[in-house]
């Protein structure tokens, strides 16, 4: 331990967590790294290695207690807590996020949504969620103690919004704008157009 954790581990950790959730639903109580590997299309040794960065969670000769491992990974991922989100941008993506009920179930609660378009401000875009003026962003984030900022504004506004979020104490950013954001807090990017381009590249490549 105290070893450096390879970057791909975090994504896999999330996939382990989701797989264990499913195993709990199925009523499975104990699972081996081999069985997990089969379900996730990975190597068993990779799963054991990944887990070893965080501790020892299994019983030799037996496997992993599903519920115990699930809780342990949940702890590592910061799942316990309810996270408060603000969404900046009330266009298509912002509104879809605001209405994406699954997030709430998983512990991500949207506490505010903002836009600079006067025709959008004041509108209720999801049950109980009224679009606020983005000029009120900083005050709101501080008062509500929001921790995650979701950027759903056009590309040319994304960096500016990110800097504002960073300054008022946001801990992490989920960015839907197709630009590389430079801030000191962690950023996760979701770029639908980029994903489509990677897909068409793969399609074109295979057809040769």
């Amino acid at each position: 331990m105290a070893e450096k954790i390879p970057k791909p581990v975090s994504k896999r950790l999330v996939s382990y967590y989701m797989c264990l959730e499913r195993l709990i639903d199925e009523g499975v109580e104990v699972v081996s790294s081999e069985e997990l590997a089969k379900r996730l299309d990975l190597k068993a040794s990779q799963i054991r290695k990944d887990l070893s960065y965080f501790g020892e969670f299994g019983k030799r000769g037996v496997g992993y207690n599903v519920e115990h491992l699930y809780n342990a990974i949940g702890e590592i991922l910061g799942v316990k807590k309810e996270w408060k989100l603000v969404v900046v941008g009330a266009g298509n993506i912002g509104r879809a996020i605001a209405n994406y009920a699954v997030m709430r179930e998983k512990g991500f609660r949207i506490v505010g949504i903002f836009d600079n378009d006067p025709s959008k401000i004041g509108k209720e875009v999801a049950p109980g969620l009224i679009v606020k003026d983005v000029s009120d962003l900083e005050r709101f984030v501080r008062e509500e103690g929001a921790e995650i900022g979701v950027i759903a504004v056009p590309a040319d506004h994304a960096q500016g919004v990110a800097e504002r979020l960073e300054k008022c104490g946001i801990l992490g950013i989920l960015n839907f704008a197709p630009v590389k954001i430079k801030v000191s807090v962690p950023v996760e990017n979701i770029d639908i157009t980029a994903a489509l381009r990677v897909l068409t590249f793969e399609i074109v490549r295979r057809s040769r």
Copy 2:
């Protein structure tokens, strides 16, 4: 050349393409790998190496002609063409995709959207886009010659939908459901909840 292309190259290729688009907007005519690297936060030698898998695009001592490289990468990515998409699932995500105008501008045209919920079928969810019964999916895909399927259904239906799409000749899948889909065509995954979990993991990790 004829060398195996590392997996991360495709994502970077897309980022080069987007960066060159911006450079064209800025009126820049020639760019060095050094300048590109600075903008994308990469190493210049990585960019040169990546490009070398596909050919020679620069002039030694000079750099790359922005427009020429842009077109060359566009060719590699399969950008020229207009791609026809069908969206399966007319919930929040499906509808957001249907309304995401940016995609159309980039050459991704949504030709159909499907659901199995009778209360949704027949509704117009985007200008000119009426939700169709998913039982009509196969016929429609074949007749329209749709190439890309977007899966925006709940996790437990995703694999089934994917297999149906595969069978009727879809060339690639963009999957929003939080499950690993097993088909022989290329799949790109977008999982918002998973991205949020990776983000909170990073937040929790840094706070230690």
